[in-house]
């Protein structure tokens, strides 16, 4: 059976498996870890090949330097494409990178590589010790392993984890104070570098005679299909992918099937993976499958938390003394002051001249019926409203013209209505991304204790969804914010858990030295957790004061129960007002 196959074929194929694996890794880390679909990995590799072949004609550098040159040369191209990714997202990025792959492919097919057809062509020489394919393969494989290890180390740093935040939601990343642009450029630099390195290895494999047809865009996207199929964010995925691409054709050829069928196989495999919506082959293999931290039962992410996962101290009605000053903070300025905030979306006024003061050490609540503007207010304070009139200051510092991540660094922390935690991180790892400069382990552990969260080494995948929202809350506190904006943190928690959370929120200023603005639909929770309450209706403040008094106001009951016409006549009966998709009509479910 293996008559036509010699060791030589296998050795050569093994080297192919290595650089294919690197390319799969390059595409896969962008896709799996940052969520960017870039269809031009071969373009980066081509730069690497070109650099090595070019240098061969002019210098004679030792192999390590050549590989380094290939790696470095690809980086500027990576930065260029990364810059494109700052502006274009999703399908747009895929389309542009595909077109870019077409251009580079034509370039390599037309011009070839330096001195490709010239008689004076200098062949690329391997070092003596790596002349045999087998030895070269071992070296290349070691490089792949090294790259994989370095990536693995990187993924354990806060910068590496921030990539997952961008993949999950750019807003979530900005809310931690990190720059999305920095993450994307960093990811493209690393991706291009790995692909460039792969190009260097390609060049050495064929002693400088690389076939330009390898860079065809359709071949290039075949790589991406493999990356999708194997779930290539990790080294294992890359190795598996590389082996597939290199070995499968040989095996098929050996049993008499045209080797190109393997690509068809990858295509179908990718379709299946995408249809299922799960992560690709390696995500489901038993020895790769993640397991819950030892000592903790593997609670699958069930739903609403009606059965409390963690024991809850039943503290119904227990209240801390009102208005206790935050320990250690002696600031005169309000923690948060909003003056005359007006937000317009088109012709609709989402917020109209709203003013609110949040003193240090205070927990304030914000309630209101459908479309009242509560989330818009939090969006405005945290920097996600493109333009507004009015003034917002935090601890005396005006926030105008600051980007969302700059505001986060100035002490504004927030949670989101739709939970944005990452199942592949542990509780502790997730929380540490919020840390500004270095992670304060004590603070992190204290927060885990305080909120009765699962232990720091527990994967979020195994945490139930209601508790994940509390993890998000705790994460926001790691940054020691001055103001914490909570957007419906109790959604999805059971009744007992809600009460418990309310009590914990109540004591936050004392324990962690921050002021809190809480949006909630659960009026009972709000009543027990806050010192003062503001009620919004149609973008206007209709009540403000102590909870007990405000909730008795007729205006408030009317706002909820709708006996009167809205206070703001502009929002009534406008063309298309409250049409589906209008951001001011935040239909709450």
């Amino acid at each position: 059976m293996a008559g036509s196959l010699t060791n030589d074929t296998w050795n050569f194929a093994a080297i192919t498996a290595v650089w294919e694996g690197m390319l799969v890794l390059s595409a896969g880390l962008l896709l799996e870890r940052v969520g960017l679909l870039a269809l031009c990995p071969m373009s980066f590799a081509g730069v690497g090949v070109y650099t090595v072949v070019y240098l061969t004609q002019h210098e004679s550098l030792p192999l390590p330097l050549m590989l380094a040159a290939a790696l470095l040369a690809a980086i500027p191209v990576g930065i260029l494409v990364g810059g494109i990714a700052l502006r274009l997202r999703g399908v747009n990025l895929a389309v542009v990178t595909f077109a870019f792959a077409m251009v580079t492919s034509t370039f390599f097919n037309t011009f070839g590589f330096p001195a490709q057809f010239s008689f004076d062509r200098k062949a690329l020489m391997r070092p003596l010790v790596l002349t045999s394919d087998r030895d070269f393969f071992l070296m290349a494989y070691s490089v792949l392993i090294l790259v994989g290890l370095l990536l693995s180390l990187h993924s354990r740093t806060e910068r590496g984890r921030a990539w997952l935040f961008v993949r999950s939601s750019e807003r979530a990343c900005l809310a931690t104070g990190r720059s999305v642009a920095a993450v994307k450029i960093e990811a493209f630099v690393i991706s291009a570098a790995i692909a460039g390195l792969a190009g260097g290895i390609m060049a050495y494999q064929t002693l400088g005679s690389v076939s330009p047809s390898l860079f065809d865009p359709l071949q290039a996207i075949s790589l991406v299909a493999v990356a999708v199929m194997v779930g290539a964010g990790s080294l294992t995925g890359a190795i598996v992918g590389g082996i597939f691409v290199a070995v499968l054709p040989i095996v098929l050829g050996d049993i008499g099937i045209n080797s190109t069928v393997s690509s068809a196989f990858f295509g179908i495999g990718a379709v299946m993976v995408l249809s299922k919506g799960t992560g690709g082959m390696t995500a489901t293999w038993p020895w790769i499958r993640r397991s819950p931290a030892p000592g903790v039962s593997a609670a699958p992410s069930s739903g609403s938390g009606t059965t409390a996962q963690t024991p809850v101290a039943r503290q119904v009605g227990h209240r801390e003394p009102a208005g206790s000053p935050a320990s250690g903070s002696v600031t005169d300025a309000c923690a948060l002051e909003i003056q005359g905030l007006t937000v317009r979306y088109g012709r609709v006024m989402a917020l109209s001249d709203v003013s609110l003061k949040l003193a240090p050490g205070v927990v304030a609540g914000l309630i209101g019926p459908n479309g009242a503007g509560k989330s818009t207010l939090i969006d405005a304070v945290s920097g996600f409203v493109p333009s507004y009139t009015g003034r917002i200051t935090v601890a005396g510092q005006a926030l105008e013209h600051l980007s969302p991540n700059a505001r986060a660094r100035h002490g504004v922390a927030r949670t989101f209505q739709t939970c944005r935690t990452m199942p592949e991180l542990t509780v502790g790892a997730y929380m540490s991304v919020f840390a500004r400069h270095h992670v304060d382990q004590n603070l992190r552990d204290e927060l885990i204790d305080y909120f009765e969260l699962p232990p720091a080494n527990q994967l979020i995948e195994f945490v139930d969804v209601g508790t994940r929202r509390v993890v998000e809350l705790a994460g926001a506190l790691v940054a020691r914010p001055k103001v914490l904006l909570l957007d419906e943190p109790a959604a999805g928690l059971g009744d007992l858990q809600s009460i418990s959370l309310g009590n914990k929120i109540r004591a936050l200023p004392m324990r962690f030295d921050c002021s809190v603005l809480l949006i909630e639909h659960d009026v009972e929770l709000v009543r027990s957790a806050v010192d003062e309450l503001t009620v919004l209706d149609f973008g206007v403040v209709v009540g403000n004061g102590r909870p007990g008094e405000v909730l008795k106001l007729q205006a408030v009951a009317d706002a909820y129960l709708g006996d009167t016409a809205p206070a703001n006549p502009q929002s009534m009966d406008l063309p298309g007002a409250m049409a589906a998709g209008d951001p001011s009509a935040q239909a709450s479910r």
């Binding site: 399908v91 895929a94 996207i221 075949s222 999708v228 045209n258 068809a264 179908i268 249809s275 409203v385």
Partner: protein
């Protein structure tokens, strides 16, 4: 100079046809179909197999058209059945994977050797000193007819109304009793049929699986010029791109011109997309 530009008319017409199909599939099927030209490529190669077996050309071409439409129907059914809840990005990813599959199946089954593609309409003629290919006229005539037919169907018929409704919100249409998956598969089929004809028409001039599959690149650029919405801007865009590609060889020597040719769609795509995203603000990112 005009003669040079006129050489771009034929590809331009093909980009226009494929572009209209891409636009239709995008609006109703919510996917940027990277594999649009590959079903037709597969069919075009099948046609040559049939003709080399001795079957009459018209039969082979008809069979090819049906085959192209059938492949598109299968693709549409996969989309409608398994990817209903998926985002546009995931669906586009699936179309990319399908492109890979179709591309390699074409190579496997038909090989990449040069083939005799039947020339549907050959010859050239001169109009006022400019040389035009007859096939180019056919392509443009067909493109204009398709454009008009599509426009009229969408605006005047009940079918068009339902398609526009699905394009805006398939779930809402379904709550009104519309069986959206049937319409989606139907649209894929029609797009597949037209694209197959376009690919078969240009096959003699391109020749390889690669080149034919990559017709989708300039076609996407043309659709982008129409904002992925307007039929007539797509038509004009395809005309512009075709003419630009015809003219670029004049600017520099032939080697560089080839690269410039493929750079035209890239530049158009990048420019249009950047322009379209210029107003995206921090409030829009999620």
């Amino acid at each position: 100079m005009l003669n040079q530009a006129a050489t771009g008319l034929f590809p331009g017409g093909i980009y226009c046809l494929i572009g209209i199909c891409l636009l239709l599939v995008y609006r109703v099927g919510a996917v940027v179909n990277f594999s649009q030209a590959l079903a037709g490529t597969f069919a075009a190669f099948a046609v040559t197999s049939l003709t080399s077996d001795g079957l009459p050309t018209w039969f082979a071409i008809t069979a090819g058209l049906l085959l192209g439409a059938a492949i598109a129907v299968v693709q549409g059914m996969v989309m409608a059945r398994y990817l209903i809840e998926a985002s546009v990005l995931v669906r586009t990813g699936v179309s990319i994977a399908m492109a890979v599959t179709l591309f390699s199946l074409s190579l496997v089954i038909f090989g990449d050797n040069p083939r005799n593609f039947p020339v549907i309409l050959g010859g050239k003629f001169s109009v006022g000193g400019i040389e035009l290919q007859t096939a180019a006229i056919l392509a443009w005539a067909l493109a204009i007819v398709c454009g008009i037919a599509l426009g009229l169907t969408l605006s005047r018929t009940r079918l068009g109304i339902v398609l526009r409704a699905i394009a805006h919100s398939a779930p809402t249409a379904e709550t009104l009793g519309v069986r959206t998956s049937r319409y989606v598969v139907g649209v894929w089929a029609v797009a597949g049929l037209i694209t197959t004809f376009a690919v078969i028409l240009i096959a003699p001039a391109t020749g390889s699986v690669d080149a034919m599959g990559l017709l989708v690149g300039p076609a996407v650029a043309a659709v982008l010029l129409g904002g992925f919405r307007r039929i007539w801007l797509t038509v004009l865009g395809a005309l512009g791109i075709g003419l630009a590609e015809g003219v670029t060889p004049m600017i520099s020597n032939t080697q560089l011109a080839q690269v410039c040719d493929s750079a035209v769609p890239f530049v158009v795509i990048a420019a249009v997309l950047f322009w379209s995203q210029r107003k995206v603000s921090v409030g829009d990112i999620r």
